[in-house]
Symmetry: C2
Amino acid sequence: MEPRISLVTLGVDDIERSRRFYEALGWSGTGGEGGSPVFIQAGGLILALWGRVDLAQDSAVSDNGGWGGITLAHNVRSPGEVDAITEEARSIGAEILREPAATFWGGYNALWADPDGHRWEIAHNPAWEIRSDGSIVLT
Amino acid sequence: MEPRISLVTLGVDDIERSRRFYEALGWSGTGGEGGSPVFIQAGGLILALWGRVDLAQDSAVSDNGGWGGITLAHNVRSPGEVDAITEEARSIGAEILREPAATFWGGYNALWADPDGHRWEIAHNPAWEIRSDGSIVLT
């Protein structure tokens, strides 16, 4: 099995609301007709937004709500970008869960949630390389 | 905010058990000393394995256990690869939640869970291109 993730699907309560949120961040979705998923090209993978009830059924899981032990991060090339993206997220109504600050591991990050509570850590980790295409490399 | 995901962190009960599981699939982890995360280069992003209690705290969330509305997928270039990866996962103890089969959307997929119940859909979607570097493109 090659080491890669192709798709991350977020279960959401209202696909159109989620689409508007991510499009307000500058991402671009396709699909979404009749309750089908919205797909967003996110670098070399695809982010999908789909009804949480449908996703739970498709994932063969009983959904008790809440968080499930998966958190996403978006890494950037400087602390200033962490600040800027956090302000962008705040301006469109994201709940800011941790304001931008230095971390104990020598980086700088912030944490906020999308309309369904899915967490995004926005991070600058000086130890990792971000290539021009946005891919990140352990160094 | 550029459209990309840099890191997907899975909260796990036993970092070394999870590391052995993903390494048995052929993935390669670094780190993990003293309860710190294990990092796995997964194409253009990084998969991290970290204690779920630590991840919940870092994610500013109260964890009631269970699933949280996020499912991961690994796409491949043929139905035969879906079969092969599912057998590989079965052989290392993954719980197979859906045996490989044709889907209503014209693809072919299977579903299994890692030791902590994190779902992986293994899918062949003939409508999407997988490049030689493993990145996937909406077409």
